[in-house]
Amino acid sequence: MATLNVNGQQRDVSDVPPATPLLWVLRDHLGLTGTKYGCGVSECGACTIHVDGEAVQSCVTAISDIGEGKIVTIEGLSANGDHPVQQAWKEHNVPQCGYCQVGQMMTCAAMLAANPDPTDDDISEGMWNICRCGTYNRIRDAVKTAAKEMK
């Protein structure tokens, strides 16, 4: 693994063992700490990023599995923090502690790209990330607002 394509830039990771999970490469090697560690086993969704537009749990994805894939993290989701999902999260004052919300928004953005008009059941299934503060009802409202805005 010589390079990774992260937020539109080729980043040198030639000194990183290829089995290293992308999460720790983003955080420790590339200084992109917006992506969070929550469980390390793909149970909570805090580390969710996009690879070629698909939501991926970076804690269980070795960099060797990414290849030429285009990685987008929260730092690259929008130029000025104004992605419709971020705006909807702001409108509904979703975050409490805020720790899981980056992963929540990355999951939401990928879900809406694939399914622009999610039903309540779609949201219950698609937004599986854990939030221990309990912001779920506001997340549900924000997803619907973002879906409306993205149409």
Partner: protein, 781 residues
């Protein structure tokens, strides 16, 4: 255990532990000024507010020269009009980092866009920084108002002097002082130079705003960290960085008190990126906030440290707690509460009243260990400075901590330095729920930094978090009542047994403390002539800590479930039964009942049965309670109420239970009276969050232990609520009140679980007395 130590409250235990362990210096430590003043422009008007509520006006020059002026909570109005406010409580999701500065800004009539929030380091001179117990607004509402009013009054006086009018003829809004009735105004920045030459007004002369004039207090406003959170720029403990830092993870004995027997240091060091393998000693005496001990792997990055730890192959000598088995322990607790215990409250003769009553009811309720599981695990980075001889001079940390003073208190003795030489910056917390009031992880970072002579960032994995928590206790509560002919209780007896949080501070503590029993048990609000409350022995075999809502989790579960059982036994409507059993509007005689009231005065914070009945009545109305008899089988409404953390809640929960036994929380209604409200939207958010946490605790929450170890290691085993568990609606009714501010963050938990289980009973006829609900077969039909 002596009764004197049993009577110590949590804060008193923490303080005693500090006094016992603090490294004393021969000469008094010079007051550090530089850090305090850094970032405040020269020529600012500075108002210092000491924790006791007195205020002083000061200039930057005075602060630099006068050693007697203690750094305190402060507001500084700079020459350009910028207002700097010190936030000294930790932000873990409650919005407190925004709310308290908003209180000050409101009294100051400041333009919020010109307010800068500075996060304070740990410093005893700032007063209480232990961000727990739902205390922040209660403790500091008045202080922040006083500080804001002092600064505004001085700016108003400066304007009045300029215009040569009486100060009564001026008014202030939005960073500007106006001369009433005339088109004259002066902005704050035009007044700072004059204002700072004035004496601060005396407390009795301060002119405060009336609640009608509040601009921010009680209104909706966003959290100050919103944009940083939404863009990923917010810095949490796991993100904290000190130049040159290395990363560490620690292998700790899965059984509390165990020590290392053997490990393979070479295998760990062979992993690429591993720098060193370091043995950490086991804690001494009671755990308090000390490190657990174990083997640390220090590496260039987190993944290398994790790989190194895998290679260690540690063998442990597990010690005396290795036979701890919660199934056996719960059986023992349940047996304990069937027999007489130590009396904590007694009026009349409960036993005789129960024996003589026409009908007697009894039930035993249990709640297992719970984990905090904040989404961010415990993390800190420490940088230890040593002199040429290797002696530690100071330690600087950045930590996700609810209590930076506890960090000083724990790290100081571990480093052999005075607590004042421990400097702790507080990051944002990826939630805490009580776990991050206990800084064992900060001690680990400091011990390792001292050894490797570089800043060390310690990361706990989720497995570490679940295995080495300060767990919520494990409990059994037995209730008995005798009912009169009309169904009203003639006598009420309760016995509780659970390992005490005190055991984390004092190895001799082997029964619940009075301050624990006061959370829902000894403060029984019902108007019953014969009451007895007892506690039984229960020795801790793991670290016991406080988790959001603490003993209310299981004591209100028992009390409010039992009240519902009595209503059904009496053949009466549960809501009407609660209302009549609460009795006349009155205040409980806290002194006579020897109830601590969380350290608050009974005058400011009476136990007001009228307010409790009010939230109960309001939630019954909001939820249209009267329809509960018309619901089909499988649908049910449940009701409960309690006073917790000096706030009052009434809950109605609507559930569906499928014929196969699957439970769905459909709708929730909450009425909350927390007195004066500061941040309306965050109060709503806290109550919404408490509902979801209540679902986690009641439906799924349990951390069983076998052979001394927690058996769940991640979220696949320790199940928590997800969005699919969230109710269709959480309907929150906040009682408008000018009463002294009570608690909010934890208050929304206490009456939720019993309302839920009461609803399940209404839906199915099955009474859930042993949480979690998931362990019960609720199928019907």
């Amino acid at each position: 255990m002596s009764s004197s130590s049993q009577d110590l409250t949590l804060r008193e235990m923490i303080e005693r532990s500090r006094l016992e362990t603090e490294v004393k210096t021969k000469t008094s430590t010079p007051v550090k000024r530089r850090d305090f003043l850094k970032g405040i422009a020269a020529g600012s008007l500075i108002i210092l507010c000491s924790p006791d509520g007195t205020t002083t006006a000061a200039r930057t020059k005075d602060l630099a020269n006068n050693q007697n002026l203690s750094p305190s909570l402060f507001v500084a109005v700079e020459p350009d009009g910028t207002v700097q406010v010190l936030a000294h409580r930790s932000e873990m999701g409650t919005g407190i980092r925004t709310a308290l500065p908003r209180v000050l800004a409101d009294e100051l009539s400041a333009d919020w866009d010109k307010v800068v929030i500075r996060q304070a380091k740990g410093d005893r001179r700032l007063g209480d920084q232990n961000t727990d117990g739902s205390n922040s607004i209660r403790f500091f509402y008045k202080t922040m108002r006083t500080a804001g009013a002092t600064a505004r009054n001085m700016l108003e006086q400066a304007a009045a002097n300029r215009w040569e009018v009486d100060v009564k003829d001026v008014s202030t809004s939005n960073h500007t002082v106006y001369l009433n009735g005339v088109k004259k105004k002066l902005e704050f920045h035009q007044l700072v130079e004059d204002a700072r030459k004035l004496e601060a007004p005396k407390a009795e002369d301060l002119r405060f705003k009336s609640p009608q004039e509040f601009q921010y207090i009680g209104k909706k406003f966003p959290i100050a960290d919103m944009d940083a959170i939404l863009t990923g720029e917010a810095i949490f403990g796991i993100d904290a960085h000190i130049e040159g830092q290395v990363h560490a993870v620690v292998a700790r004995c899965p059984v509390v008190g165990g020590v290392v027997e053997s490990y393979d240091s070479d295998a760990a060091k062979a992993v690429k990126g591993v720098i060193d393998v370091i043995e950490l000693p086991r804690f001494q005496g009671a755990p308090v906030f000390q490190q657990l001990g174990g083997i640390a792997v220090v590496a260039e990055n987190t993944w290398a440290a994790l790989q190194g730890r895998e290679a260690l192959k540690v063998r442990w000598n597990e010690g005396p707690n290795a036979d701890y088995d919660t199934e056996e322990f719960m059986a023992a607790l349940t047996a304990t509460v069937q027999a007489n215990g130590q009396v904590m409250r007694a009026e009349g003769d409960a036993a005789t009243a129960i024996a003589d009553a026409p009908k007697a009811v009894q039930a035993t309720y249990t709640v297992p260990h719970l984990s905090h599981a904040p989404m961010e695990t415990t993390c800190a980075v420490a940088d230890v400075k040593t002199d040429e001889a290797g002696k530690v001079i100071s330690c600087y940390l950045k930590a996700a901590t609810q209590n930076p003073q506890a960090v000083q208190q724990a790290v100081g003795p571990a480093m052999g330095i005075p607590n004042d030489e421990v400097y702790c910056d507080v990051t944002l917390l990826g939630a805490g729920f009580g776990r991050k009031s206990k800084p064992d992880y900060c001690v680990e970072a400091a011990l390792l930094s001292r050894r490797v002579k570089r800043p060390v960032h310690v990361t706990w994995t989720r497995e570490d978090d679940f295995q080495h928590d300060y767990f919520h206790t494990i409990s059994a509560v037995h209730c008995e009542a005798g009912l009169n002919e009309d169904g009203s209780p003639a006598g009420w007896l309760m016995r509780a047994a659970y390992p005490s949080i005190s055991s984390t501070f004092n190895l001799q503590a082997q029964s619940p403390a009075s301050w624990e029993a006061e959370m829902g048990l000894t403060d029984l609000p019902y108007d019953v002539p014969n009451v007895q409350v007892e506690v039984g022995q229960a020795k801790a075999h793991t670290r016991i800590g406080w988790l959001r809502a603490v003993c209310h989790i299981f004591q209100n579960f028992a009390v409010s479930s039992f009240a519902d059982e009595l209503a059904h036994a009496a053949g009466r409507d549960p809501y009407e039964y609660l209302l009549s059993t609460l009795g006349e509007d009155r205040e409980l005689d806290l002194a006579k009942l020897k109830l601590g009231n969380r350290g608050a005065s009974a005058q400011d914070y009476p136990y007001d049965i009228g307010r409790l009945k009010n939230v109960l009545t309001r939630v019954a109305t909001e939820s249209k309670w009267s329809r509960h008899n018309d619901l089909p089988r499988g649908k049910g409404l449940g009701i409960a109420c309690c006073r917790s953390f000096l706030g009052y809640t009434g809950h109605v929960v609507e559930v569906s239970v499928s014929p196969q036994g699957s439970v769905s929380v459909d709708n929730v209604w909450v009425s909350i009276d927390a007195g004066t409200i500061v941040s309306l939207d965050r109060v709503l958010a806290q109550v919404e969050g408490a509902t979801i946490m209540g679902i986690s605790q009641a439906m799924y929450g349990e951390m069983p232990m076998k052979k001394g170890r927690a058996i769940h290691s991640n979220f696949d085993g320790f199940q928590v609520a997800k969005i699919s568990d969230s109710p269709n609606s959480i309907n929150i009714d906040i009682v408008k009140s000018e009463a002294a501010p009570g608690g909010v963050g934890e208050t929304g938990i206490g009456s939720f679980a019993p309302a839920l289980c009461n609803a399940i009973f209404a839906a199915t006829g099955e009474r859930v007395r042993n949480l979690p609900i998931k362990n019960h077969d609720l199928s019907w039909g």
